[in-house]
Amino acid sequence: MIVNEQVAVNHGLKKDEYAKICELLKRTPNITELGIFSAMWNEHCSYKSSRLHLKKLPTKGKKVIQGPGENAGVIDIEDNDAIVFKIESHNHPSFIEPYQGAATGVGGIMRDVFTMGARPIANLNSIHFGSPQHKKTKNLLRGVVHGIGGYGNCMGVPTIAGQTSFDSSYNGNILVNAMTLGLVKKDKIFYSKAAGLNKPVIYVGSKTGRDGIHGASMASASFDEKIEEKKPTVQVGDPFTEKLLLEACLELMAGDSIIAIQDMGAAGLTSSSIEMASKGNLGIEINLNKVPCRESKMTPYEIMLSESQERMLIVLENGKEEQAKKIFDKWNLDFAVIGKTTKSKKIELYFDEEKVADIPVNTLVENSPMYDRKWKKAKLPKKNKIKKEDIKHLKIIDVLKKILANPNVCSKEWIWQQYDHTVMGDTIQKPGGDAGVVRVHGTDKAVAASVDSSAVYCWAHPLTGGKQVVCESFRNLISVGAKPIAITNCLNFGSPENEENMGEFVECVQGISEASDYLKYPVVSGNVSFYNQTKDQGIKPTPAIGGVGLIKDYKNMITMDFKEVDNLVLVIGKTEGHIDQSLFARSILDEKNGPPPEVNLFNEKNNGETLLKLIDNNLIKSAHDVSLGGIITAVAKMCIKGKKGIKILKPKYLINEIEYLFAEDQGRYILEISKKDFKKVADILNKNAVHFDELGTISENKLYINDKTKVTIDELSTSNKSWLTNYMIK
């Protein structure tokens, strides 16, 4: 095939990008080379629109062993233990083929983690669907949940937490973000940097087929009516082979024969070989006839661009091939020496004894395009004033029941019951709490993880929203008694070529940076997903933040269920009555305008750290952060989980009762303490200048707002638990 500008454009390259390729090569690329450039230079692999802004993220810290730039981030959890973790998007494939799209998303992120030598110990996910009324939503949700479960359950890795939301902005573009945590010894971490000349380059895992060719390019394009035609670019997952690959890789890693290892994810053999060469400042020579293929007559172009799953590329020490091959034979996996490292600093590919590609590595990586896209700054919307007549007819209990049954608040048990969350025997906090918690096997330590996003806040004001979502992650970890250590982010946005969408990206990243810097909660890994849009309509900006924290003694873990009748319930953090963009405003008043709640980083940090002090002093019986639906929703969930009630006092506040109960001011937690500890708790809170209100006392089985306004916990529980099951089954 003759390569020209039109062929390049068909590969998703811009005309000027094609001109640059010809200039860098000082000739016209052949079709294989063009394919390689298009794969490396697309948005998904090159981060060409985001790189400039991602540099702002704080990525360093005392506990950070490896920040962004590797397969995953790594943090220190003491005693020579480290946690490897990352979140990644698989949005576009999941919309086209929900089961395989979601499944291979989970498989891909687990591979990123075990590539570094870590055994995966927990999976999480953040999934976002269109309006429940949209004709595609139900099937997409079912397919995605089955896909996540199908892969994770088979791998035997527990899925311990997640987040599911519904919003019409995802009608034509759902989000599926998968996160994995792995455990590794600090001195046994593996990296992707190749080193040494004439070292064998090894291909292991599944055979290469024609599936997923141009997957990464698809993920860098917007959807239109013809999207169904893209089905062949969705990869097909085989969790069984991945389980074998995991065990085989860990077995090989126990020895000392690996110099570098890299999984074949987006852009398959192309990006894995180029990344290893680039990091090692070396060249790589590959004989494509040696690549194990599943289909006959595959061309070099297809072999290089296939995104077949469950494959790894390894640079081995010389002379270790036989020993390594034995391990892969035992696990019935392909093992082939396909090439070697060279000093040429080029990617040189041979096929049928002919050289089919010859590209300097730096042209693909350092010289890849980087854009300073135009972006529009968002204005802070004006505050709405709630009119008394709009709310005076509202009955608090009815509103509470509606909010508990709202698709974005209701119990997601229907989803997480389909995920094996107990395999590996260390899950001590299951899905449904503030964060999932797994023990570090065989120790007293435990790791807490959660994943959060607040698209509505980010949409209303990206800078504030970006900060808020980091703070929410921080709060979720603290609520289970964990000290937050670091985050991974999955930045899901519309088109970077649209100034407003690009502005949302830039300002969300700015917000994330400010909060993560202030909270000493650095970003160690992540992924950007642009072009989440159908035609011209972008999704609401949805940065998902995956947070990881440490509990030194797992017996001190906190859960959110109310524990004992007569215990006191406090709210810490100040309630100013911020209703704009709250679930109450949006779903009850149908008011979609106004600014999101303000984020005060000082208060966030101070309130969170003070709560950790209270937990360290064994003064906290249960805790839960206040988020969607405000204080009353948070309390109701604690009642439902603990099968207890609460008598809410007539608080001494100056704002309207509805505002007090449903406002979504930030930096707040609900705490349960024993009456006898009140003085101690109040002293610590006062000493640290943390505002608190006494909310009430725990009672038998009803929630009382006052003597006349009450509801049984069973009734609240039914509201909370029935929506999703009814939606999916009926």
Binding site: G156, W416, V423, M424
Partner: protein, 227 residues
């Protein structure tokens, strides 16, 4: 007491079972599926997981593994063999226990705590368990036990049903049946009651910090019965 846990390609509860058996005093060995011989054992366990990806009928490929001939011989000579979840599916495929395991009634994977009622205590697995009802944990996609009417009659006549799904009081009703199993059957024996297949995972219930502790009860009792 010596035990062996078989690891098939795709087993993923083998480590959990190993840890549980060790915790309650078994000297456990992990045995690779491609081995021919079983080490000397008082108990052989086929663990949960997705052997061979369960791409054919669950458990069918594993039932033809090299080691399985030794396991079958061991069972036929009266040896104690316990299959949990995928292990139960493998046992069904070998014919050591009757019936089949279909996909769950609502076609969805289920991971949750359930209550099971012990039907028969005249066997080494449940003898001397004080409780009538245990809280166990299930995590499976194909646990819907089914057999023909003739088989069911035979199973019932021989008292081969080990445990039923029930509520915390031991009531056996359809609403407490998580997967559509015939008669709420959660686990069954072979005729001689040395082979037990069950869907619930006792190894996930061995610690108060986990889902509960009724698995501890089960294992403590089991090792005592074997002594």
């Amino acid at each position: 007491m010596k035990s062996s846990v078989i690891t098939f390609p795709g087993s993923n509860c083998d480590r959990d079972m190993h840890i549980a058996l060790k915790k309650f005093g078994f000297k456990n060995k992990m045995v690779w599926h491609a081995d021919a011989d079983l080490p000397k054992s008082d108990l052989v366990v086929l663990p949960g997981g997705f052997s061979y990806g369960d791409y054919l009928r669950c458990g069918s490929m594993a039932s033809k593994s090299k080691i399985m001939q030794s396991v079958i011989n061991f069972a036929n000579s009266g040896g104690m063999v316990m299959g949990i979840c995928n292990g139960f599916q493998i046992l069904v495929e070998t014919g050591l226990v009757p019936g089949v395991l279909l996909r769950n009634k609502y076609l969805e994977f289920i991971c949750k705590n359930v209550f099971v009622k012990i039907n028969d205590k005249k066997n080494k697995y449940f003898k001397n368990v004080n409780n009538e009802v245990l809280e166990f944990h299930i995590a499976h996609n194909e646990g819907n036990y089914f057999c023909t009417n003739d088989q069911l009659k035979e199973i019932e006549d021989n008292n081969q049903i080990a445990i039923y799904y029930c509520d915390e009081k031991g009531t056996i009703e359809d609403q407490f049946n998580p997967n559509g199993s015939i008669k709420n059957i959660a686990g069954i024996f072979n005729k001689e009651k040395n082979v037990l297949g069950m869907m619930p995972h006792p190894e996930r219930m061995i610690d108060t910090s986990l889902s509960g502790e009724d698995g501890s009860l089960f294992f403590k009792n089991l090792i005592n019965n074997l002594k």
